[in-house]
Assembly symmetry: D5
Homo-oligomer: 96 residues x 10
């Protein structure tokens, strides 16, 4: 099942830079695991913002909740979740 | 270049049903031409709404403007355009 | 899977009253079928409004989309959809 | 009488983690007492957020106020309260 | 139980003036019955608007819903409902 | 002259609790003086919030400004002021 | 007593042009009477809009309500009312 | 040329009180110079708020920018600027 | 003096197409006169919308008001006006 | 390709003034390099705000993202990006 998830990252001024780099590296590793597994189907940056627009393909709402709330950068994120479904006009098999 | 385009379709009450079906068929044909061309990369429905979330891959802002404003259903659409770019963490070549 | 769906019904001034009663009766019948099936788990009215707050339990996002967009009163509705999941503290088995 | 209550929990950065766990445990215990009593009828999580959508069944507005404002996590919550009532189409006795 | 109800009246341009006067007279009669009964405790106009701020004292949410949705001018109203309760500092017995 | 004043109290995390209790006691005393004088006509709590909806009856805009901005809890308040006037349908002499 | 009143005029498409000119002339005459009387203290246009920002000096909220709601163009106006008072730093006697 | 400028002053909790009084005195002196010069034509307080509504009469946009951004309290202000012009119906010569 | 003006054009459904083309031609002619005169300094389209972002250079607020409100398409426009001024870092003489 | 970028600069209270001046000087130098290169086509101040409205001319969305997010003052900015394109009525060659 498809969801659009939009994430804005806000790092509080004065947050320890080294600790943030560690969290970013962990976030990237976690993201790539999920992308390889086909769960985090797409990610794109929003121009001019520390934000992304992503497509998730999950088995259930609960699975999506668990993934999002355990992301290393989750405590710094504002998140918007929108339920999607396949468009009947699409000619791509993987546009589910 | 990537853009997220969100389209909400609003058909005025009392609009001629047959004429609308004709426009919808033309919209579908135009969409599929653009999808085959790789321009309208993805389309997904928003659950519960006559709306979609789409990804366009175009050569310029002007090309996107021309495509959107000549869609058969454009006069019935509210449109939101967001400039995107490739995310450096993505492992998919086509996640541009 | 659980979703909160909030529906506001807006009948345009001058809409044929008899036709609206027919649609309302069809909506009620469809609702009760879905409630008996366990799909439309709960419905409650919002005080002072022609609106309801409902809980749906569906197998997929697509199923929810199909149910909502084929409701007899759907053309008169503004709809808001929010993905939910079971709360780990709940002691009710059916609070899924 | 029914109310929809939506709660968003925001923990300030740097709040003592152990103290927060103590408050969360107290919140869970209080919630379960109220759920057993039939007052906090339902609770569900909002996917991707530290938020819930709940249904309360109380004897009066004042009772709801006292319950909400004495929750252990209340100082960290943004709360939205909406008065509801039974929907005449519902076939469930307990959908009051 | 107390509720603040704010009502904005919007008469569509071109609505039959005589019919509207009839509805207004019915609204006034209904209002005065409810005020005499102690249900519609207070009403005040908002300066510069066809709007009022009212206090209702009702036995239940359902009673308030029935009162509001059967007002003669209800089809022309936008309504906002807020649940209130007695303030502990008040020295007026009837400030419930 | 009547005004609706809505007040939301926000105490910053970490504010000295004893000092806040002193301010609250001073606020209550000031409120009761004004209520006895007929100036702060009504006060009611908003369910689930540290907020009130009040009706003031003052001789001038300037008097209302002076009262509000010298309340002991004013530095912690967000305030919304709306000018009201007597509704011609009211049957209560004191609904001015 | 001073109030800022902001008025936006919206003429529905297709409204009879001659009738609107008659209403505008009546509005202008009424405005000038009120300006001469010192009630409608100031009026200024908002650049690019069919809107004005005005200052009224009235004896009561009710007087302002009666003035605004009987303006010839009132049925076409969206109005925002803000209560003002003299600023203690002003050196102008008439800046009341 | 006329501009409406609305200013809200927000003093951060804990700001040094003596320093703020010094800034307020400087602001008042600067304001009165500008009022005497006819530049800061009017100032009025917004009831219940640490805010004012002002009318400026300046020779250019740049002059207004320089005045506003060098006000002693500017770092504490949220400012809204609206371009105005003389209303053709006004009978006051100085209502420019 | 510089102003940013943003214009959204909304043509009501059913408006006579030939009459609209006539107005558009008149709008274009008027625009080009003003561009040649250096008054309407820049115009750009907003991608996906019947909207533009423009820069005007005018002698006064009143001149801008007269230009905007006499544009042939003005009755179909929603307009937002923002006062600008030269940025001190700019190295372009004509970036005034 | 053209983009409108609106930037609001917010310096947190208490930020080291000398360090901020250093960042501002670096921002100015970077801006002037980009203006000379024709990339940062225009910049104008918004009257009364620490904000600008700018026009960028870039080869791709990614180029714009890289420019904006590496500006020395970027960590203090709120940014809004809008895709533009040449208006067909413009008579200026460089109004692309």
């Amino acid at each position: 099942m498809l969801f659009k998830v939009e994430m804005d990252v806000n790092v509080p001024a004065g947050f320890d830079a080294e600790r943030f780099e560690t969290l970013k590296a962990a976030e990237k590793a976690r993201f790539q695991d999920l992308q390889r597994a086909g769960t985090w189907r797409h990610i794109r940056r929003v121009v001019g913002h520390y934000s992304n627009v992503s497509i998730f393909d999950v088995g259930s709402n609960a699975e999506l909740h668990d993934i999002l709330t355990t992301l290393p950068l989750y405590p710094f994120m504002a998140v918007r979740v929108t339920a999607l479904c396949r468009h009947p006009s699409s000619i791509h098999d993987d546009d589910r």
